[in-house]
């Protein structure tokens, strides 16, 4: 039986303690969880969040048990691959083949609430972001192909920002916007 590390009340503490070596623990945890979710979305999108939690839990328990981990993120990837293998085996046993599921018959938000409602909610949320953020979102996520790259590079130059920093800012704004629209649509659906 492996001895747990003294002073670590839970496996979660062990994980945070380990992550705190490189950066603020909470930030490191969020970053790692996001990468795990991205990894699982590429394989089993429907279960991505749950599988990410499973992988994190296993990683945390290994750390609490005293397993020597040289590179936390790489180790997490190894755990994730095992979790993925188990999930796929489980699916195969349950005869949930990874065929093209197409569109499910469950009505999606657009069919249920209408694009018009979403546009209205989006308009209100864009207003809440403010003029500058609104302009950035509309300019950043507009065009396609080569023009898209040019516009983003130009935006970065105009702002005196690196492309990476601008990308992160645009992603945060988009997440904020989507969260706002989701919240508004939830409110609407309560009345329909």
């Amino acid at each position: 039986m492996n001895e747990t590390r003294p002073g670590l009340a839970s496996s979660f503490d062990a994980l945070l303690s380990r992550l705190a070596r490189d950066e603020p623990a909470q930030l490191g945890y969020e970053r790692l969880r996001r990468r795990l979710t991205q990894f699982f979305r590429l394989h089993l999108p429907v279960e991505a969040e749950d599988l990410a939690d499973i992988a994190l839990d296993r990683l945390a328990r290994r750390l609490q048990e005293g397993t020597e981990v040289e590179h936390t993120q790489r180790y997490a990837l190894g755990v994730a691959r095992l979790v993925l293998l188990e999930a796929r085996t489980r699916h195969a046993k349950q005869q949930l083949a990874e065929q093209d599921p197409g569109w499910s018959e469950v009505p999606d938000a657009e069919e249920t609430l209408g694009l018009e409602t979403t546009i209205a909610a989006l308009g209100a949320c864009l207003d809440q972001l403010g003029t500058r953020a609104r302009s950035l979102i509309l300019a950043y996520y507009g065009d396609d192909g080569a023009r898209r790259i040019q516009i983003r590079q130009q935006l970065a130059a105009d702002l005196g920002s690196s492309l990476n920093a601008l990308r992160n800012r645009a992603l945060r704004l988009r997440e904020t916007l989507e969260r706002c629209v989701r919240d508004k649509l939830k409110t609407v659906s309560q009345f329909t």
Binding site: G102, D108, T118, A139, D158, V188
Partner: protein, 271 residues
């Protein structure tokens, strides 16, 4: 370390890369240096959003569309994100040009928010106010207050949305079928239900409304509905856009270049 080019990330997301390359990219995803603020992970996320935006705006070919549906649009959350992407494209197309292409540089003209009329439709100024009224009604019912409510009449602002259904049957189609409809008093929108004579599972359809050769409304990416023996697609169009007079309603499969069915719809308002 350089970020893989956008095309590589797209191919990864569409599951078109060889396994060895996938394994290397996955390792890279977890090696992403924290001091770079997760550049690689952020690039991957951006590539995914760009694909969804391209899908929403009909920029992908059939194979790409299929792969996006298969790998990126499987959950309800994913499809809600797609709806938001479509809404964003619509709002962007209605925004002033300078706002569409402006950054947030202090050198750019500080464009105020475009006048808030709720939802503006690019298909006609008349439809804009009516659609805004419809959107406002929904928001008022939900208790959500837009910051600058549009200026429809009081009657429109408080009246419930009234949607009139119009059935377009394939059996009446004789090259260009004709039918007459009467817009009832208070109708704010028409729900066009167009029968698909030879439905094919997985096919998406486009419904267009034309006025003397000019397209006034398009609804694309429509899925099939089933009601007994009838397969149909449906779209809601503001009544003000449809208007009174003669309209051509055409239906075609998304991949086709020519309409499959055309109806001539004579519309008049109730006395």
């Amino acid at each position: 370390m350089t970020i893989p080019v956008d095309t590589t990330l797209r191919r990864w997301l569409l599951h078109r890369l060889p396994e060895a390359e996938v394994a290397a990219l996955e390792t890279r995803l977890f090696d992403d240096d924290a001091t770079e603020d997760g550049s690689f992970a952020a690039s991957l996320r951006e590539a995914e959003l760009d694909l969804i935006d391209d899908y929403a705006q009909g920029r992908l070919d059939a194979d790409e569309r299929r792969d996006v549906e298969r790998h990126l649009l499987q959950t309800g959350e994913d499809r809600l994100q797609l709806t938001i992407a479509r809404a964003l494209a619509q709002v962007r197309s209605n925004a002033p040009v300078r706002e569409r292409h402006a950054g947030t540089s202090k050198h750019a003209s500080a464009s105020p928010s475009p006048r808030r009329r709720g939802t503006r439709w690019k298909y006609g100024a008349a439809g804009g106010a009516m659609a805004a009224g419809l959107a406002l009604v929904v928001l008022v019912l939900a208790g959500i207050q837009p910051r600058k409510p549009p200026a429809p009449t009081d009657a429109v602002a408080t009246a419930p949305a009234v949607i009139q259904s119009v059935a377009l049957l394939a059996s009446t189609q004789r090259g260009a079928a004709e039918l007459e409809i009467t817009l009832e008093h208070g109708t704010t929108a028409l729900r066009l239900q167009a029968e698909v004579a030879r439905p094919q599972t997985g096919t998406r359809y486009v419904l267009r409304v034309g006025d003397a050769g000019r397209t006034v409304f398009v609804a694309d990416d429509l899925s099939l509905h089933q009601s007994g023996p009838y397969a149909y697609v449906e779209a809601v169009i503001p009544a003000a856009l449809f208007g009174a007079g003669v309209r051509q309603v055409s239906l075609q499969a998304q991949a086709d270049t020519e309409p499959g069915f055309v109806w001539q719809v004579h519309t008049r308002k109730a006395d």
